[in-house]
């Protein structure tokens, strides 16, 4: 056992050495077209990455998820192509996607903005969608200024090799009810895509942003999203990871929610061989609210890990986390939900639930709710359940004449649909698309 542990850490360290060489090569001859204003941030980020190193086997946060393969694939891809690669097949992948209600579609391929594939809105002062590659130096510095640069090692990796990104800014009092659809494609060429999305929702403004990942082949994605919700704002954020079954996908979202604002997030993982998602929410103003929903479906030998962390920093803040997992074959799932109620966050209400369906004997889930509470006046509840399909429901359906396989699909679909339904009123088109994607997977998953 000891041997293996050493091996994995050694391999991760070797990958980092390769990545360092790639980074130095890149600094020596910067790629054309990447914004110069990113340079200082990239250097700082790389220093952080080198100091921290990839997660080690003993790292508690990575206890159940082995990132060594991800580090090695990153090294292999970055060694040859330090920055993004032009695509060949993006249009094929795009063909299947819905056009959502307000038509806005911003497309990135292998990390680079693609105006030719995007459908943008008219320039609008109240809703700015700024690809980093089009931002001048002062705009760029402003965009970076609002983002945490070295929050963790994966964010540092993203920043160190950042080529492009999208800044979404919704002006004060502006209500954008319909979805801003941001699509990140990794087309499976040897490219370590580092998608970046920053969202700023102004005071008393509303927005709906969809961060949608699709890919082909052995793609590699390390996505970072930073979100600021100003006072009295409302944001519905949908993250949909529907990459190929050979993809490796790591994503971080860092969210700040100010006083009297509401952050709703729906996080869905259908694809990937290895997916790890970290959602960190800071309720930093009084009466700030977060509702975090999640759904993942996985089978074969695939692995999905969701880590949530909600910090209640202010009084009368509320958070609700509802995550559901569906696993078949030898798939492995991880749910780690941490709620920290800090001193002074009186009147906090925090609820967490994680329900999982294990559809085979060999599927496995590690679920761990964690509460850290530093104040008295709070209401907290958490629960986790893991089980098979309800036998009574199965018999009821079959007694009506539904064949066993269909009955299983009906029940699994119903279980998943409850999460998808949280999107329906905001974007029926997206909810329908998700339902279809979910149904497509059902025969394999059940």
């Amino acid at each position: 056992m000891k041997k293996i542990i050493q091996d994995r850490d050694t391999r991760s360290a070797a990958a980092l050495t390769t990545i360092e060489a790639a980074f130095e090569k890149l600094q020596a001859e910067p790629a054309a077209g990447t914004p110069a204003w990113l340079q200082p941030a990239r250097e700082m980020a790389f220093a952080n990455l080198r100091d921290a190193g990839f997660p080690r086997v003993k790292d508690e946060d990575w206890k159940y998820t082995n990132l060594t393969g991800f580090a090695e694939r990153s090294a292999a891809y970055l060694e040859n192509q330090p920055l993004a690669v032009k695509d060949k097949t993006a249009t094929v992948l795009l063909g299947d996607l819905p056009i959502l209600e307000n038509q806005i579609r911003i497309v990135f391929v292998n990390g680079l903005y693609r105006p030719d594939l995007s459908i943008a809105v008219q320039p609008d002062f109240d809703l700015e969608l700024t690809p980093y590659s089009t931002a001048d130096s002062s705009t760029g510095k402003n965009i970076l200024h609002q983002q945490p640069i070295d929050h963790n090692v994966m964010i540092a990796l993203n920043t160190a090799f950042l080529a492009d990104g999208l800044a979404v800014r919704v002006a004060d009092n502006k209500k954008v009810g319909k979805p801003i659809h941001v699509i990140f494609i990794a087309d499976g060429q040897p490219c370590a895509a580092q998608p970046r999305l920053s969202i700023n929702v102004g005071r008393n403004a509303h927005a709906l942003v969809v961060q949608h990942h699709i890919s082909m082949g052995e793609s590699l994605t390390n996505a970072v999203t930073t979100i600021n919700c100003a006072e009295q704002s409302q944001l519905l954020f949908v993250r949909l990871q529907n990459e190929s079954e050979q993809s490796m996908h790591v994503a971080n979202q860092v969210v700040r929610v100010a006083a009297d604002s509401l952050f709703n997030s729906i996080s869905i993982d259908f694809g990937s061989q290895l997916a790890r998602n970290d959602l960190v929410v800071d309720l930093c103003g009084e009466r700030a609210q977060a509702n975090l929903y999640g759904l993942f479906m996985t089978n074969g030998q695939r692995h999905v890990d969701n880590h949530l962390r909600v910090d209640h920093h202010a009084a009368h803040t509320t958070s609700q986390e509802i995550y559901r997992g569906i696993l078949n074959d030898k798939a492995r799932g991880v749910f780690n939900g941490k709620i920290i109620v800090h001193t002074g966050a009186d009147g906090t209400d925090a609820q967490m639930s994680n329900r999982n369906l294990l559809l085979s004997e060999q599927a496995e889930i590690d679920t761990k709710p964690e509460l850290e509470i530093y104040t008295d006046d709070i209401k907290c509840a958490h629960g986790a359940t893991t089980g098979q399909l309800d036998m009574n429901s199965m018999f009821y359906l079959r007694a009506r004449g539904i064949p066993e396989a269909s009955a299983r699909m009906m029940l699994v679909s119903a279980f998943a649909q409850e999460i998808i339904d949280h999107i329906r009123s905001a974007s029926p088109a997206l909810a329908d698309y998700l339902s279809t994607q979910m149904s497509k997977q059902l025969p394999d998953i059940t």
Binding site: S393, F395, L397, R398, A399, R400, G401, P403
Partner: protein, 252 residues
């Protein structure tokens, strides 16, 4: 239509049905009464094919074929319907969708094309009206948030749509108020026909005031210990079960 011959069945390690005989002819209505725990629901479940029971002896033929070899869904396709004593809630599975899928599965089994969508909608609207169910119930999840009485009404509604050959109704009358009882009874009576039979499990004679049975049986200790016509139900109502148990007790 249905012939149960010397049926023995276990639930867990306990023998519940201990040599049960019952024969139901086409178009007949049979009522089964009996003390709590005597095995009535067990019989219903075994006939419908629920897991968790082990048949240790005896045979059941339904319309000439061996019933016990079939999967629950196959039994349904052959015309068995079970109205549950405790209908469960299935969140996220739409009532109408369930019925359509059930009918189409049966069509497929029969080698017939899928049902016509428009005609199906007409049928379920008619049957919902018959059961005095609001249309909104059709679009809700199966039994989710239904009151106890509404769940029972939904069972009969489903039966009306599926038009089985043999309906096994397990205490469909329990928990119904007088008005709902009349509606349920009317729903059942509307389905009575020459080629459809009923096996009605009940504790109360009052249901039989509305649905006149051809035969009444007493199930106790895992067997049918007495059979008669509808007057037996009246007698049971007046005198309880003890006299039947005494009368049939085997000496020693």
């Amino acid at each position: 239509m249905l012939n149960i011959d010397n049926l023995h069945a276990n639930a867990g390690d306990t023998e519940i049905l201990k040599g049960l005989n019952l024969s139901i002819g086409t178009g007949e209505v049979h009522a089964i009464m009996g003390p709590n725990g005597s095995g009535k629901s067990t019989l219903a479940h075994v006939l419908a094919g629920r897991d968790g029971y082990e048949v240790t002896g005896g045979t059941v033929t339904f319309l000439g074929t061996e019933l016990l070899d079939m999967l629950p869904e196959e039994r349904a396709w052959h015309g068995i319907f079970l109205g549950f004593q405790y209908p469960i809630e299935i969140p996220g599975v739409n009532n109408t969708y369930l019925l359509k899928a059930a009918l189409n599965a049966r069509q497929k089994f029969r080698g017939e094309p899928e049902i016509d969508a428009a005609q199906f909608l007409r049928v379920i609207k008619d049957k919902a009206r018959l059961m005095q169910m609001e249309q909104s119930f059709l679009n809700r999840s199966v039994n989710e948030g239904f009151s106890g009485g509404e769940k029972k009404r939904n069972e009969i509604f489903q039966m009306a749509v599926l038009e089985p050959r043999l309906a096994i109704l397990d205490e469909t009358d329990s928990g119904l108020d007088i008005d709902a009882l009349k509606i349920v009874a009317a729903g059942i009576n509307a389905l009575r026909s020459e080629d459809r039979s009923f096996l009605i499990v009940t504790h109360y004679q009052r249901l039989l005031d509305y649905i006149e049975p051809d035969f009444v049986h007493v199930l106790a200790g895992g067997r049918i210990i007495k059979s008669g016509d509808k007057s037996l139900a009246l007698e049971l109502e007046a005198k309880g079960y003890d006299w039947v148990l005494d009368e049939t007790a085997t000496p020693g």
